[in-house]
């Protein structure tokens, strides 16, 4: 835990991210990595509601698309400057999420998942059909590149890479602070047993809603960033496939940790770029991979590492405790050992 989620691990990761553009001179790699960071930012949000609060949200890519379309529509159709539109992307997404959050408060487990699956579909269909607002299947093209101070324009792959990376680092830091705070523990208590959490005086409704809104806010911002990065949008962004992909990132890395989903979200697009020859058939490989992971590595890479460390620690404690006993039949020995330790 200390190494993985502690300062050293984070510092190394940030350094690796900073150095990456110098290691690869390839613009294509930078673009792949930047896209991965944007989805990692969204996955952080999904992980909060699903991994920490235990509500399996299937509308996440819908909210991401919503944020992206806020930026697309405002900048292209209303000439709003990118950063103002970007700031609004998170806010408006959260505002749309608010009534849905209220409905979802009363839904537990499978009902919540199916409800959000439908919400995701509604978003996709609305984006596709409401042509006067969203340009329908044509999509939005010509989204202006983000600008910096003094008229600087983020339109080079390296500049965009650092811009996206900066957002991911800040997003991950804030998320780390959230989940290690009292609030994060409250979410985890709800995940583990909402009845127990309620009996401890935790306000279920308020905390579930807060977790949902924070998660949706991350999705919206990631979407806004995506709009400024890719600079064109289509309804496909809202498709459930993206939610499923983010769920897979989360699962491979480790649900309910910050580092796990991050690593998963960064590693998976990388992997799929190297499986390019599979093209759209990559799910022939990924599908069974998801199933095998769920069955054999349910906690993901980081989660399993943490579990392994915990097991090793407890085994050592047991060994210490059992040391005086020569035969396991001797039942008094562990007791003696325990007092010894």
């Amino acid at each position: 835990m200390k190494y993985l989620e502690g300062r050293i691990g984070w510092t190394l990761l940030v350094l690796a991210g900073l150095v990456f553009p110098f290691v690869t001179g390839n613009d294509y790699h930078l673009t792949v990595m930047s896209t991965a960071y944007i989805f990692a930012l969204a996955t952080l949000g999904l992980n909060l509601i699903t991994g920490y609060t235990g509500q399996f949200n299937l509308a996440h890519s819908g909210f991401m698309a919503l944020g992206a379309y806020v930026v697309g529509i405002l900048t292209v159709d209303h000439q709003v400057p990118f950063w103002i539109a970007f700031a609004l992307s998170g806010v408006i997404t959260a505002l749309v999420g608010l009534p849905l959050g209220f409905v979802s408060l009363r839904l537990k487990g499978h009902y919540f998942s199916i409800f959000t699956l439908c919400v995701g579909y509604i978003m996709f269909l609305v984006i596709e059909k409401w042509e006067s607002l969203t340009h329908g299947t044509v999509g939005i093209i010509g989204i202006p590149a983000p600008t910096g101070f003094g008229g600087y324009v983020f339109d080079q792959p390296r500049a965009l890479y650092y811009l996206v990376f900066a957002f991911l680092v800040v997003g991950a830091f804030v998320m780390h602070r959230i989940v290690t705070s009292l609030l994060g523990r409250t979410f985890m208590a709800i995940r583990n047993s909402d009845e127990l959490a309620e009996s401890l005086g935790i306000n279920l409704a308020r905390n579930k809603l807060l977790s949902f809104l924070l998660s949706v806010f991350y999705a919206g911002l990631a979407g806004g960033l995506y709009a400024g990065f890719v600079r064109f949008l289509g309804p496909d962004l809202a498709g459930t496939h993206h939610t499923f992909e983010m769920t897979t990132f989360m699962l491979i890395g480790g649900i309910g940790t910050i580092l796990g989903p991050l690593l998963g979200a960064i590693g998976m697009p990388w992997l799929s770029q190297h499986l390019q020859f599979l093209q759209e058939y990559r799910y022939v490989v990924f599908g069974p991979l998801i199933i095998l992971l769920v069955i054999f590595v349910p906690n993901g890479i980081v989660g399993s590492y943490l579990a392994w460390k915990a097991r090793r620690a407890s085994n050592e404690a047991k060994k210490l405790a059992a040391a005086p006993a020569a035969k396991p039949v001797n039942t008094t020995a562990p007791q003696g050992g325990a007092t010894h330790a």
């Binding site: 699903t50 235990g54 399996f56 849905l100 409905v103 009363r106 839904l107 487990g109 499978h110 009902y111 998942s113 199916i114 409800f115 699956l117 439908c118 919400v119 579909y121 509604i122 269909l125 609305v126 059909k129 459930t240 496939h241 499923f244 769920t247 897979t248 699962l251 649900i255 759209e280 058939y281 990559r282 799910y283 022939v284 990924f286 599908g287 069974p288 991979l289 998801i290 199933i291 769920v294 069955i295 349910p298």
Partner: protein, 290 residues
């Protein structure tokens, strides 16, 4: 008169859609009753059913009804395999993991179908392309066939569940798993049987509907999502609920498409669900817990 004709036409459309939705939802609700897991891969079974029928008919020139039976058998095996290989190992896991595994299976089946048959939209020919005139009302034969076959299947399933011992074991296990195993019901056997029935129902529904629709790898997605709406409406795990819910959604869609907007007809079911869940989170017909 003109109004009445249009109205009856929508009733006919509603019955067609409703019959198909009910068949898909029935399989889903049976599996939910036994497993307590929403099987997101059920739509992929539906898609697989359509493709297997399509394949048997176009490649081997098999008769429509035989192709339907063949596809029901193939998908029943596929569905049973899914139970054995995916859901059985996960039955002690929390709700999240089986759901994600089901999604993995869905992605796999869709990609495999695309690998074998391509991403293009395919058209499946019905041997019954005629049109029947019923007192000023025109109805394609295939539509009438869908309605008749779907409701026949429902009656058969009902008789099977109510009148046979094997059927009763499924109901018993859906009602109380521990109690069922206490009286000597083999939980594994019942789970496999339920998956087989669900798969066969999905394949039959798809083979019935395919001739008036299109066949493509993602065709199951919208249908399965609507089937989820239906089983929430009707109460998860309830057989009559799935039938009534299917008809409600079928009618809401055909009337909505005609009188409101055909662009938004696919949204109607979901909006209905959001409204209903806001008012009654347990669904329309659920009395107690589930």
């Amino acid at each position: 008169m003109d109004f009445l004709q249009q109205f009856l036409q929508q009733v006919l459309n509603g019955l067609t859609l409703g019959g198909i939705y009910s068949l898909v939802a029935l399989g889903l609700t049976l599996v939910y009753g036994i497993l307590h897991v929403p099987n997101f891969a059920h739509g992929a079974f539906y898609m697989a059913g359509a493709f297997v029928s399509f394949h048997l008919m176009t490649r081997y020139g098999v008769n429509y009804w035989l192709a339907m039976a063949g596809s029901a058998a193939v998908v029943a095996v596929l569905s049973t395999l899914a139970e054995r290989l995916v859901f059985h190992p996960l039955r002690h896991h929390s709700g999240l993991h089986p759901m994600i595994a089901a999604i993995g299976m869905m992605l796999f089946l869709e990609a495999t179908a695309q690998l074998i048959w391509g991403a293009d939209f395919q058209r499946m020919q019905s041997p019954y392309s005629g049109i029947v005139e019923l007192g000023g009302l025109t109805a394609p034969v295939q539509r009438l066939l869908i309605i008749a076959a779907a409701f026949l299947m429902m009656v058969v399933l009902h008789l099977f569940l109510k009148k046979t011992v094997t059927g009763s074991t499924i109901i018993a296990m859906a009602q109380n798993r521990d109690g069922a195993s206490l009286v000597g019901i083999d939980a594994n056997r019942v789970a496999m049987l339920t998956f087989a029935i669900a798969g066969a129902l999905a394949a039959i529904a798809a083979s019935l509907y395919a001739p008036i629709n299109l066949v493509y790898p993602a065709m199951g997605n919208l249908v399965i999502t609507k089937a989820f709406v239906i089983i929430i409406l009707g109460g998860m795990g309830s057989v009559p609920g799935a039938i009534v819910g299917g008809l409600i959604i079928g009618f809401a869609e055909s009337f909505g498409a005609f009188y409101i907007s055909s662009d938004y007809k696919d949204i109607i079911a979901f909006v209905l669900l959001v409204v209903i869940l806001s008012v009654r989170p347990q669904g329309l017909f659920t009395k107690g817990v589930r």
